[in-house]
Symmetry: C2
Subunit: 161 residues, 2 copies
């Protein structure tokens, strides 16, 4: 009797686990390709705005505000850290339902190259937060340059003109 | 002679400071209204994506991953902390050059009400990061509810249907 109960219990638990896993996976999968493109473009657009704020301050040191640059750097790093890779769903290598993308097909095949630029960008962006925390504008300027280089490295390889 | 030099020097410095301040202000002002609308919508879209990730996990605890929820919460808070208020430029209270906005005109006039919802949302979002750091899904769920309520409070008051 105990054994039978355990088996039923096991079956129930297994079914429950499967159901929940499907629910979780379903969330990622139920995103429409056009929404994935729109969302990743939104992330980059918001990063670019914050890059612009930092750029204007390192180019005009008189306008430098530590807290302003720190918050901009934190937004860039946090957006990138939140797993944008999940937004490159299959089928999002081209315009979908009017949502345009400039991504090159290579981004979906060159796993090694993509991992490399993604890692380099993440490091640069997280280091920009550290630089911004220091409050030293020269440190910020140097690290800002590093982030800019990593933006460009990825654009050159995986973004169309 | 010394006095004259000092005066010239002062005049030069003053002119330089004015030039730099204009450069800094110019950056904010040179943003086109349609770009301001596009950028704030990008920020909210990216927040919404991360809210969705947290929602799916608190609703299916089996899928809960502390690190995933933490990074999502950090993105939401950092985007909000980066000063989205600056994107509500004069003239962005309506669609501009094809860039649509659902903002109500009240957002540009009800300074007190806006400050109140902005403060409440910021507190809720920053507390969500703290909750996510705890790794306790019940704490996350409660605080996620708080953030959702603050999203809704602002939408109800300042966003058109």
């Amino acid at each position: 009797m105990k054994s039978k109960f355990s088996k039923n219990r096991f079956t129930q638990l297994a079914a429950f686990t499967v159901a929940l896993t499907i629910a979780g996976t379903a969330y990622a999968q139920m995103m429409k390709p056009e929404d994935a493109i729109k969302t990743r473009k939104a992330g980059y657009a918001f990063m670019a705005w914050n890059m612009g704020k930092i750029k204007s301050q390192v180019e005009a040191p008189q306008t430098y505000k530590k807290d302003d640059v720190l918050k901009a750097a934190q937004a860039i790093a946090a957006i990138n850290n939140s797993g944008m890779g999940a937004l490159y769903l299959p089928g999002t290598d081209k315009d979908v339902n009017g949502e345009k993308t400039r991504v090159k097909p290579e981004l979906f095949t060159d796993k090694e190259g993509v991992a490399k630029v993604a890692k380099a960008f993440s490091e640069a962006a997280n280091n920009l937060v550290v630089a911004a925390e220091s409050g030293n504008i020269d440190t910020v300027k140097t690290q800002f340059g590093q982030v800019g280089e990593q933006c460009k490295a990825c654009h050159d390889k995986y973004r169309k003109e």
